[in-house]
Amino acid sequence: MKQIDDLFLKDHYSDLTPIEQTLIEDLCSDEVSFQQVKALVTQSMDVLPVSPPAHLLEALNQTFDQTYSKPSSKGMRPRMFNLFISSAVAASLLIFFAIYLFNSTSTPEEQTARVNKQIERKHNPAPNKPLTKQKMTTDQPLVAELTQVIHSDPVYNDEISTPSDEPLALAAELQEEAKSIEIRGTRSDYSVLPSEATFVSKVPSSNTYQWTAVDKNIESSSVVIANVPSRKKSNLEPKRLNTSLLLKQIKPVY
């Protein structure tokens, strides 16, 4: 749609087409009214031009000076702040990098050895080793290994009420143990041994109990079957002992 303003750019009302005349019919219908509206539209651009007072520009210039002089002094703070942050980040990164390098300075041989150990652990996982066993093995003297035979022992009664009864109970279990050993044939002459021949003696020097049995093939009258660390008497609290573990640690002395 052609703008009405454009129609008034024409010199005379007669220059308008009939369609254009109908468009501005409400505004003007003859040459005189056309000229009146034309004057209104064209001359209103120059209507009483005004200019703001000069003091307004001065005030605005002051505002401008105040606004753009501050950022130069304020601008240092963010810059310094950014510098501080960036230096802190760089320092922390450097520290982490140094730690990483320090940890990874092992030679290739060491690294391969470490990897091999890990692989070996994966392929040959250690049997269930309770911490108590490790602790106990350190306390007792190593005399001989009988673990292979004892390993397939039947389940023992773990119910031992008091520490004071422990040696006796262990002795009783050892009698049965001797029988099981005989069955396996490691020591065939054990069958000769009477159950009463097995007894417990206290060895003060080693602070261990020694269970000995008479062995006919040996000149000495007794043989140390196993050494079990004795417990302190002060420890009177009833404890549940894992006798199967204890028995596994029994080592015969030849």
Binding site: I4, L27, Q36, V37, Q43, L48, V50, P52, L57, F64
Partner: protein, 194 residues
């Protein structure tokens, strides 16, 4: 900076705004020279020639340009943006105070209002313009605003629609009404072809 003053005359309005962001005072002065008169006249007419308030609003407008130049999107037309601000400032002023009630029809003493005795005389430019000013003040706000923007400030229909926030059809109809009203009122003047 003073040396650059002449250089800014060739800058577009949008480029001047970018320069203002960099703290170029000369760019601001150039922009002020371009728009202060038009905006002042626009605000003045909308506020029924309340000069004090018009100056206050103009100062607020240019202060906003100084302190918050980042608000202007350089992809936009500056003229539309600045007139939109002026229009909104005036609308807020309408809401805040009933300006019409507080002003004695707005016209300053130096404005010559054509009386009945002048009707018979040949209409001079000055008289015609003064009469137009008077008739403009009689228009309601919405018609006066679009007429000023179109025929006094020379903005396009599209720009006016953006500034006022109405569609282009409404702008045209309001313009048509304003012209018809003014033409009817100014018929008393023997407008001659100039």
């Amino acid at each position: 900076m003073r040396g650059l003053k002449s250089g800014f005359t060739h800058f577009s309005d949008e480029e001047l705004m970018l320069a203002i962001r960099q703290g170029e005072k000369s760019a601001f002065n150039e922009l002020y020279q371009r728009y202060s008169g038009k905006l002042y006249g626009y605000i003045l007419k909308l506020l029924w020639y309340n000069e004090v308030r018009a100056q206050d609003l103009l100062q607020d407008l240019f202060t906003k340009i100084i302190t918050q130049p980042h608000l202007f999107d350089t992809n936009r037309n500056f003229k539309t943006w600045v007139y939109t601000i002026a229009s909104n400032l005036c609308k807020n002023e309408f809401k805040r105070n009933e300006v019409r009630k507080n002003t004695s029809n707005g016209l300053d003493n130096h404005y010559h209002v054509s009386g009945a005795e002048d009707v018979e005389q040949t209409v001079t430019d000055w008289e015609f313009k003064a009469a137009l000013e008077e008739e403009l003040m009689k228009l309601d706000d919405k018609h006066r605003e679009v007429f000023i923007l179109k025929h006094i400030d020379g903005l396009s229909i599209k720009e006016i629609s953006e500034i006022v926030g109405i569609n282009e059809g409404t702008v045209k109809s309001r313009l048509f009404y304003a012209i018809k009203k003014l033409a009817t009122e100014l018929k008393m003047f023997e407008l001659v072809e100039r």
